[in-house]
């Protein structure tokens, strides 16, 4: 019996001792590693922001954490992360990168999910902000899209960020101002229908708008040609990209092979035959290798009258972003080539017979810079992470510290509510600014301040938003399928090549438009049929 007692005593002692470290551990900060979007590595010697954020979290919010900022190079983010995931060395919080990678991570069980109630409980202010986006005008309608992007099979997997300009067309028709002046076209009389558009292209080609007496001008560039697809409700990926899926008679059809695409190609072939399109339109005088991609060299150098290779912000006028603003990147190039007084004009999208117009637009929410959480993150840790998320959403001082650094040292506040950063992005990252980025849950905090700084106080974005609110500068063209199809990676390369070759042949007149059905058959058998079936299945599952 004595032996039994001693054993019992020892066991009791062991149990008490086992409790001691736990009691001590409660005072120890919880370690959270995070690998967000960074321009360069954090310099542990110079890092002043991360310790300051940790201190503020502890003192103001009672959250005791040790944040480990992990730098993963953006260029090979997925590759590096994948090796670390398999080696068990991946950080607790990392980027979803895209819907495709997000779904892959989920399928492979490397990221964790949680219930809506869990988020509501631990980050109530974030939840309220998302659900009552009413204060932010444009966000109000997007709550459903947000939920759709955040939830898989009833469980939440990611916190998407709102993109108030996501449903605006990114690119815009930019006309040469001098050519319009020469032809007596004003902003009001710019083409608003397909016929008017083709008519102006004819005048650009035949009425010598550059006034050099030579027939060396063309109507439009390959990007501007694509605007006509929008006039027929299509979002084309012609020349290298994947097209949008559209609804026709209740079925999902690719813009590549929809009946309307034949109509558009017919118009373009007709324009080509009349010489309104550059014979070398495929080789392109738009983006030129080695120079900035958005510059349309053909338009800037007076070969085309209109291009749609850039956004309004690329052709931003002087002084919009602030007194020192020298103008958008393409605008400055345009002025350098054509003279300081030269002008360009933003054009409306030409409308088609059904009143459709526009350019492909994205979704009002995005996950590319949103955080996901490692599958081995415990409920306890996730609760702490969400509490931090809530702290960023409610405490503007904390958010400014993590997002911008120390006032006067890393940024200054401007009168209009914007900030001016005092260092380059890489140097800011070195001192710890943006290190905690993914702990906001997305690339910005779910707060008024977060969105004001990212969008509404930014004059260049306000400028774009104002233009896109105008009728016919906005767009109707949206992709019906908002998720990556299972066979997309495998099949789109081939079907896109078939489409590009066929379109070019049709437009150049090398192939008769009577053979359109043969092209559709080729497209279908190369994988288009599988993709179309998958698109329809997906669509059916959503409605």
């Amino acid at each position: 019996m004595k032996a039994f007692r001693i054993l019992a005593l020892v066991l009791a002692l062991v149990m008490v001792l086992a409790l001691v470290p736990t009691a001590v551990a409660e005072d120890e900060p919880m370690k959270i590693s995070v690998a967000g979007y960074m321009f360069g590595p954090l310099d542990n010697e110079k890092d002043v922001i991360t310790p300051a954020v940790e201190k503020m979290l502890k003192e103001k919010h009672g959250i005791n954490v040790d944040i480990d900022v992990v730098y993963i190079e953006q260029g090979n983010y997925a590759e590096i992360l994948n090796t670390r995931l398999s080696g068990g060395t991946a950080p607790d919080v990392f980027l979803a990168q895209s819907t495709t990678t997000l779904n892959e991570y989920l399928d492979q069980g490397v990221i964790r999910t949680w219930d809506e109630a869990f988020l509501q409980e631990n980050a109530p202010d974030v939840w309220n902000f998302v659900m009552n986006g009413a204060a932010y005008g444009d966000l109000k309608d997007d709550v459903e899209a947000w939920k759709k992007a955040a939830v898989r099979d009833g469980k939440m997997v990611v916190l998407p960020s709102f993109k108030p300009d996501g449903s605006m067309p990114y690119k815009t028709l930019i006309y040469r101002g001098d050519w319009l002046d020469k032809l007596g076209v004003t902003e009001e009389t710019l083409p608003k229908t397909v016929d008017e558009f083709v008519g102006l292209m004819e005048r650009f080609t035949n009425e010598d708008p550059d006034g050099d007496g030579e027939a060396n001008t063309y109507g439009c560039s390959i990007t501007a040609m694509k605007a006509l697809f929008g006039s027929y409700g299509l979002g084309t990926g012609f020349s290298g990209s994947t097209s949008y899926w559209v609804l026709r008679d209740g079925k999902v059809v690719s813009s590549d092979v929809a009946d309307d695409a034949k109509t558009v190609i017919g118009i373009l072939a007709d324009m080509y035959a009349k010489g309104l399109i550059d014979k070398e339109f495929v080789a392109g005088k738009e983006s030129v290798e080695g120079s900035y991609w958005a510059i349309s060299h053909g338009m800037v150098n007076g070969i085309y009258g209109v291009s749609a290779n850039a956004s309004i912000d690329h052709y931003r006028l002087k002084g919009i972003a602030g007194p020192d603003d020298a103008g958008g990147r393409c605008a400055t190039e345009y002025w350098q080539v054509n003279g300081e007084d030269s002008t360009f004009v933003y054009g409306p999208w030409p409308a088609g017979p059904n009143g459709d117009y526009g350019w492909e637009v994205g979704t009002p929410v995005a996950v590319s810079e949103s955080a996901v959480y490692n599958a081995n993150v415990s409920d306890e840790k996730l609760a702490v992470i969400f509490k931090i998320l809530n702290a960023f959403a409610t405490d503007d001082e904390l958010y400014m510290l993590a997002f911008a650094g120390i006032e006067g040292e890393h940024y200054t506040k401007n009168e209009d509510g914007t900030i001016t950063r005092l260092m380059g992005n890489e140097d800011l990252n070195a001192v710890g600014v943006w290190g905690c980025r993914s702990l906001y849950g997305s690339d910005r905090a779910f707060s008024e301040l977060g969105y004001n700084l990212a969008f509404y106080n930014d004059k260049t974005i306000a400028n774009r938003l104002n233009w896109f609110k105008k009728d016919q500068y906005n767009s109707y063209i949206q992709d019906v399928v908002t998720e990556t199809l299972p066979s997309a990676g495998e099949l789109f390369g081939e079907v896109n090549t078939i489409r590009d070759e066929a379109y070019v042949d049709f437009i150049r007149g090398d192939r008769s438009l009577d053979t359109w059905d043969d092209f559709v058959a080729d497209w279908m058998s190369a994988g288009g049929e599988t993709l179309t079936n998958e698109a329809n299945e997906w669509y059916a599952s959503q409605n």
Binding site: F39, G40, P41, L42, D43, V70, Y71, I72, E73, Q74, G75, N76, E79, I80, N82, T83, R84, S86, G87, T89, Q97, K163, D165, G166, Y170, V288, E289, G290, S291, Y292, W293, I295, H297, S311, D313, H314, A321, G328, R329, T332, E333, Q336, G362, A366, S368, E369, N425, A454, D458, T460, I461, R464
Partner: protein, 293 residues
């Protein structure tokens, strides 16, 4: 003096070589001019034959970047240590395999050559390096490639071409195998060792992927990683992720073409300079002076 006489064939050869050199020099010359150009000229594209509005700003920025110098240090460490160790171990292995009396020589040779064609793959390699506790160490850049099967076969073939009589005479004089290897075989094999060393140096200097995967400590990043970061920051590939989000931020992220060019110059110049010094070994005939004295 027949060989000095002009002939059409020779002229054509010279012409071809001049054009070939020209095609390489022009690219470097363009890059050099680009590195001296201010950003508004560099974004325009097109070939630059002379610098317009030359400026040293790009170089000042590159030289002012702390990571460039850290990168230099790390690259030099890995290149020097890596090359010496690799050369030593590869040639030792090659020496053993070059001996006819080595038991099961063919089996062992094939065993090593097998790794030339089949490798474990990225993730198993990562797990191995992690398991050995090499993550975030210089060893992770050097040890996994310590023996290169290809180089070993090349060196082995060279060793096999050396006459065995030399070694036999050394053995008679009382030298051991290791002394023979160090004092006879290695000095005789300078041309092949120099050739392989150059490959190794260039390989170490240019390699980046292992650093990307195995190293997360920013003070151990090599030059190519820094260079890559500066170059990639300006490419469309990265920009597209935020393309629709914020055009203003996007523009600020872009490194100018001039800056990229300056970076490329600063990082590749040293390795370009080593070529002429090693080149003489390439042309040296085998066995020169091996039996003198």
């Amino acid at each position: 003096m027949k060989h000095n006489r002009f002939s059409v064939g020779k002229a054509l050869i010279y012409l071809f070589l001049i054009l070939l050199c020209g095609s390489i020099v022009v690219a470097f010359w363009h890059l050099f001019n680009l590195s001296l150009s201010p950003s508004y000229i560099a974004t325009r594209g097109g070939l630059l034959l002379w610098p317009k509005d030359p400026t040293a700003d790009n170089y000042a920025r590159v030289i002012g970047n702390r990571y460039i110098w850290l990168g230099y240090k790390n690259t030099i460490i890995r290149t020097v240590i890596g090359t010496v160790l690799q050369l030593f171990f590869t040639s030792m292995g090659a020496y053993v395999l070059s001996k006819r009396f080595f038991p099961h020589r063919t089996f062992w040779t094939l065993f090593i050559v097998f790794t030339m064609f089949f490798s474990g793959g990225l993730i198993p390699n990562y797990l191995l390096v992690k398991g050995l506790g090499l993550l975030d160490t210089y060893a992770s850049m050097i040890l996994p490639g310590l023996i290169s099967a290809y180089n070993m076969v090349i060196i082995r073939n060279y060793f096999q071409s050396l006459p065995e009589e030399i070694e036999e005479s050394c053995l008679i004089d009382g030298a051991g195998r290791f002394r023979i290897f160090l004092q006879i075989i290695l000095p005789l094999s300078k041309p092949i060792l120099a050739t392989v060393a150059l490959w190794l140096v260039v390989g170490h200097w240019n390699s980046w992927f292992d650093v990307l995967i195995y190293i997360s400590d920013d003070t151990k990043f090599t030059l190519q990683i820094v260079l890559r970061r500066i170059i990639l920051t300006g490419s469309k590939e990265i920009l597209d992720t935020s393309a629709a989000a914020n055009a203003a931020e996007m523009e600020s992220v872009v490194s100018s073409e001039g800056l990229k060019a300056a970076c490329i110059f600063v990082t590749t110049f040293p390795i370009l300079c080593t070529y002429p010094f090693v080149q003489k070994f390439f042309v040296k005939g085998i066995m020169i002076g091996s039996l003198k004295g």
